[in-house]
């Protein structure tokens, strides 16, 4: 009556499930996973930045399955997606979720060409989850031409209010100095903002990124090597949030 990993009984021959059995099995597994039905993603490329980052995290925790909750080392500026060597330690997460930018095309309208907009749909976050950390991540490529010794300042704003004209009410979240020769992922802390958006979804009006040169002139973010578009795929900007389960997860009664 005692069995461990090395004492497994192989009691049946592998066979294909009949369609009814398959449906029942799917229903059972979905129930265990806490999903009402199977997700049907519109786009499921695994080679964009967010899935690649999540895959890195998955591999990190799969290598240490004994850790009860996975730990994540927060990179501030790194060439690889997940680097366990440095930076602040984010723990106690039961779930990590990445969000793709909903703004499909870059608007090059005259009043908008020096800033980039990002918007993320947080409506899929389950009620029982509490955000313990969130980041906006954007890739900075190496740039040499024209700007050898010039630094840039990148600012990330939360949009507080939109109006019909070009005026916006913005809240500065974070500013960074950038050097042309630097390359890697920049991570901006969005923990407070995402908690606000979670409590008040109507306040989720997105983020604005603004680049200035050393003279305070607004510039296109691309000039500093910031990847704000869909290409290259593996360097697309995205948002990531870490969650902790708030209490016991209940499965639905069937």
């Amino acid at each position: 009556n005692f069995s461990t990993d090395n004492e497994v009984r192989s009691s049946f021959i592998q066979r294909r499930l009949r369609s009814q059995e398959r449906r029942e099995m799917q229903r059972e597994i979905l129930s265990i996973l806490g999903l009402p039905q199977r997700p049907r993603p519109q786009v499921h490329t695994k080679h964009t930045a967010a899935p690649m980052f999540m895959m890195d995290l998955y591999n990190t925790i799969s290598e240490h399955p004994e850790i009860p909750r996975f730990s994540y080392y927060r990179p501030v500026y790194h060439s690889s997606l997940v680097t366990p060597q440095d930076n602040r330690f984010l723990d106690d997460a039961d779930t990590v979720m990445s969000f793709a930018n909903l703004i499909e095309h870059e608007q090059d309208l005259p009043h908008r060409q020096h800033r980039r907009e990002f918007r993320f749909d947080l409506s899929g976050i389950p009620d029982e989850e509490v955000i313990t950390g969130a980041e906006f991540r954007i890739y900075k490529q190496f740039t040499r031409e024209h700007f050898d010794n010039q630094t840039f300042r990148v600012s990330l704003y939360q949009v507080l209010q939109e109006s019909t004209n070009s005026d916006l009410e913005l809240l500065l979240l974070e500013q960074r100095e950038l050097w042309p020769a630097e390359e890697g992922w920049l991570a901006f802390d969005l923990t407070a903002t995402s908690n606000l958006w979670l409590d008040n979804p109507e306040d989720n009006l997105g983020l604005h990124l603004v680049l200035e040169d050393s003279r305070g002139q607004r510039r296109k973010p691309q000039l500093a090597g910031l990847v704000t578009s869909k290409r290259p795929q593996e360097k697309q900007p995205f948002m990531v949030a870490f969650f902790r389960a708030n209490g016991v997860r209940f499965r639905s009664v069937r």
Binding site: V8, P41, H44, I61, P65
Partner: protein, 141 residues
């Protein structure tokens, strides 16, 4: 339940079965049958997300070894490491009163978690840790 009825049976009444009687009955049954049902053990059960046709939304893993527990929790349980004290008592009481007291259950005693990486409807990616998905050890409860 012991209520101090020892030696107080009325003449002509059916004698109450004792633990010793139950043990003898079990041994006799085993000898008569010539076989003993397999004990409580961990069995293979692999859940394949690929075979379920979910490759389009589950990124990793392809599946996982879930295992399950099955087998008989038969007397004597006290020689097994993983039977609870109560399961041992329950086995004995089952023999005394098989109609009303069931045998102990063969069930997981240790469970482990797995992590699943998947897309949601909005093509966001979710990495979730599910506890208690993999049977590590089985025992009688």
């Amino acid at each position: 339940s012991a209520h101090g009825h020892k030696g107080r049976h009325s003449k002509g009444a059916k004698p109450q079965r004792t633990v010793q009687d139950a043990m003898r009955a079990v041994e006799a049954a085993k000898e008569n049958l010539g076989v003993s049902k397999e004990g409580c053990k961990k069995h293979e059960l692999y859940v394949s997300f690929r075979d379920l046709g979910w490759q389009d939304w589950i990124i990793a893993p392809e599946g996982y070894a879930a295992y399950y527990c099955d087998g008989e929790c038969a007397f004597p349980l006290n020689s097994y490491m993983n039977a609870t004290n109560h399961a041992i008592v329950q086995t004995l009481v089952h023999f005394i009163n098989p109609e009303t007291v069931p045998k102990p259950c063969c069930a997981p005693t240790q469970l482990h978690g797995i992590s699943v990486l998947y897309f949601d409807d909005s093509s966001n990616v979710i990495l979730k840790k599910y506890r208690n998905m993999v049977v590590r050890a089985c025992g009688c409860h």
